[in-house]
């Protein structure tokens, strides 16, 4: 192995090299006086640099900084940002319409208000009906799931695994036949 580079010596001192490279350097230092001298020289330099006296802050330092700080800045919440963006968009749209049509700004605002009220008046009953329907469906599903879970727990407590599986398969087949039968009745009804 040829003699070491100075940067390698520093990295060896600071334990920044791979274990394999460390081993090579250690072996080389054992046989090369020139590199050993260079290593001792740099090792002492690093040791002295690492142990320089500490610059200590005065005891009142923290208090002095704290006396200078005000309330911390916080980012506006997502809702405030969204509201600001919506308000800005409406304002820009109104301004553009006002500039393009030359209409009075108050007429535009009143018109917008009127349109909005119309939308609310038409959609509100539909929305309420949809909400009622959704809550009904949710109630039915919840009740059905409750019965199903109760049935499974009884089944589990009463019989062995094989009988559980058999009863489950029979139940699934019965439900499938029931749905198929209902579908047929509906179709027959449509044909007649």
């Amino acid at each position: 192995m040829k003699c070491l580079g100075i940067e390698q010596i520093y990295l060896y001192i600071e334990k920044e090299l791979s274990p394999a490279r460390n081993r090579e350097i250690k072996e080389h230092l054992a046989i090369c006086q020139k590199c050993t001298n260079a290593f001792e020289e740099r090792k002492l330099l690093v040791k002295a640099a690492k142990s320089l006296p500490l610059w200590e802050t005065p005891p009142e330092f923290t208090r002095q900084v704290m006396a200078r700080i005000g309330p911390v800045k916080t980012l506006p919440s997502a809702w405030i940002k969204a509201a600001a963006a919506a308000l800005a968009s409406i304002s820009v749209t109104l301004l553009v319409i006002f500039l393009a049509t030359g209409q009075n700004l108050s007429t535009l605002v009143l018109g917008l208000n009127h349109s909005l009220w119309n939308y609310v008046r038409n959609f509100l009953p539909v929305l309420l009906k949809l909400f009622k329907l959704a809550s009904l469906i949710f109630g039915v599903i919840q009740q059905f799931t409750g019965y199903l879970l109760k049935a499974f727990s009884w089944l589990k407590a009463l019989t062995s695994l094989q009988i559980q599986l058999t009863i489950s398969i029979i139940a699934v087949i019965s439900i499938a036949i029931l749905i198929y039968g209902i579908k047929r009745i509906i179709f027959i009804g449509e044909k007649t």
């Binding site: 940067e7 640099a49 610059w55 802050t57």
Partner: protein, 220 residues
Amino acid sequence: MDRSRRANKAKKNPLAKPFPSFSVSTLEDRMSSMDEDKKLVERTIKGEKEAFELIIRKYQQPLFNSIGRMVGERELALEFTQEVFLKTYSSLHTYQPQYKFSTWLFKIASNYVIDFWRKKKIDTLSLDERQGSNGHNCALAVAADEKSIVRKFEISQLRTKIEDVLKEIPAPLREVFIWRHISELSYEEIAEIKGLPVGTVKTRVFQAKELIRKLLEEKK
């Protein structure tokens, strides 16, 4: 006062003289320190000023020690350290928790000191930036007739000499040398602070040390 004595002193009374958090040795300690910092930042953002006071207590010593060595004047360093904390406080809402808080804080300090050097028209270009891609004037290999320079001094005398010559080396080399050997940051952390590749940081720290050695020879 050497580092082991400072550590013992800090253990006896941790609040009186907080020891630099980044000099703790185990990975577990580092992770818990990082989590602690993030919690303190969160609490400060929520309006708890006391949490920021804890951040100051934790970092004032390492920060002042590094800034002091960079600018070389105690009063100026105190003022800069205060300003760095104020800047940090006012920018807390921009801190991204996926990064290490101490690295972010030191980055603010580094930028502050560089601005000061630029205003004072102190050269902020490193040796390689000034002289081309590989422009360091340090020897790369050990010379056959290399003299013993450092070993001629007593350790205490050597420390004083290093303090003296540190003021004479180019500002960018001084800065990375301080981050590495005085603040004891890893090369990766310094690379993040400076926005440089790790290899470049290693080369600059090496150049700084060899330049110090060269200047020590002249001062002998």
